[in-house]
Amino acid sequence: MSHGNMNLTLKVWKQKNKNEKGRFETYDAKGISPDMSFLEMFDVVNEQLISSGKEPIAFDHDCREGICGMCSMYINGRPHGPKQGITTCQLHMRSFKDGDTIVVEPWRSAAFPVIKDLAVDRSSFDRIMSAGGFVSVNTGNVKDANNILIGKNEADEAFNAAACIGCGACVAACKNSSAMLFVSAKVSQLALLPQGQVEKQDRVLNMVKQMDEEGFGNCTNTGACEAECPKSISLENIARMNREYLGATLTQNK
């Protein structure tokens, strides 16, 4: 399948560390197969760079199948590139044309400092999770699956929320760098299910507090997050979190 190999120009953000100022560097990507993934294209370019004694481009990746959420890249003005519902590792070069110039930037947010080039530090998400994204009540031994009855709707909604892979594309896409879609997905996946409901008030209060402390911006409901989320997490989760947050504030007796 070597027919139709492409030659591309890459404008990639290079940045030594979070304190250094970054800049764009231009690279030629020659003989790229349309069947390669975007990350494989970067592998090819990096191998060429290494063999000619130059520094390769740093980028994050792990599973390369759309489940780990590591492959953060802002491609031609959109997180994870031009296609909907996929991560960068699932983006194929056939989505581009021979001769294209592709601009690749890191997620840009105060809460996601650049580690190097395209790799950013998303541990702010981890700290939000540590603030309440878990169940700590004693749920006992493994029970029969049908002991706790859960409606199909709730189960589906919880499952859809739990599909969030913590990639950060929602923050990257948002003009306000708001993390509301991510946090609301994590709040929802637990708040919808019986064992998570026990701590739902503390959870939402603590996770939102941590989100604000990390320096994410304020949501203005543009919906860019939902449109760019590789897992199509719904804005309904943000509404749910807003009501849970109001309810928790009003009724908490602490």
Binding site: K11, W13, G22, F24, Y74, N76, G77, R78, P82, V103, E105, R108, S109, A110, A111, A131, G132, A173, K175, N176, S177, S178, M180, D202, L205, N206, V208, K209, M211, D212, G215, F216, G217, N218, C219, T220, N221, T222, G223, A224, A227, E228, L235, E236, I238, A239, R240, M241, N242, R243, E244, Y245, L246, T249, K254
Partner: protein, 226 residues
């Protein structure tokens, strides 16, 4: 677990303030639009002046006027706070962004649209509010009411004023197209059954109310109402 920050200083609380003040301003628009539309009776402003007289002399309305000003100020101050915080959240801008791929331009331009509305509000208050409250309305109509209608006619005989008002109403329309439904989402009211209704209602409201407002200066300038 750790100590909690206050509701109103949280990101979600600030959005609630935006939404509550926004919907309050919308309720004001309804009343304002309804009463001003009395000019379309085309009776030389008699009905309109009755409405204006009622609004100017009713104590509840006068009290609400103060609430209205506070509401606008709160909405603007909170908008400023949110906008500045959101800027800080992205210290290095993207080189290229394709916002059109994921959101409506007016949803991303609420601050700009709001600023245009604010500039209009200043001109608008100078045209009518300052005159009726402070400098005085010069003439009376056949019912012996202060003739605010005549002030309107003089004001809207200037083409530039008509153009400014129409442009401002276009800004308002887009501000509301996002703002109306956005407020409900902020309050957590997102529901498979009702959200489509809220969105449809919001869209119609955003088109019809600014359109009626915009028709007022146009109708007077063109001489459709005399």
């Amino acid at each position: 677990m750790s100590k909690k920050a206050g509701f109103l200083s949280s990101s979600i609380g600030k959005k609630f303030i935006m939404g509550i003040t926004g919907l309050f301003l919308i309720s004001f628009l309804v009343v304002h639009c309804f009463l001003n539309a009395f000019i379309f009776f085309n009776d030389g402003g008699l009905m309109f002046n009755i409405g204006a007289h009622f609004m100017a002399t009713n104590w509840l309305i006068r009290a609400m006027e103060i609430v209205l000003f506070l509401g606008i100020i709160l909405h603007i101050v909170q908008a400023l706070v949110l906008t500045l915080e959101n800027r800080k959240a992205r210290p290095v801008a993207y080189h290229s962004t394709n916002g059109a791929a994921n959101s409506k331009w007016y949803s991303r331009s609420m601050g700009l649209l709001g600023t245009l509305i604010l500039m209009f509000l200043i001109i608008h208050l100078a045209h009518f509010w300052v005159v009726s409250r402070f400098t005085g309305i010069p003439t009376e109509d056949a019912n012996g009411h202060e003739d605010l209608y005549a002030v309107m006619q003089v004001t809207f005989s200037q083409l530039w004023v008509v153009i400014v008002y129409v442009l401002a109403m276009i800004s308002l329309a887009y501000h509301l197209m996002h703002g109306f439904q956005s407020a409900f989402q902020t309050f957590g009211l997102n529901h498979k059954k009702y959200t489509p209704l809220i969105k449809a209602l919001g869209l119609w409201f955003s088109i019809i109310v600014p359109l009626i407002f915009a028709l007022m200066p146009i109708a007077m300038y063109a001489g459709w109402v005399k």
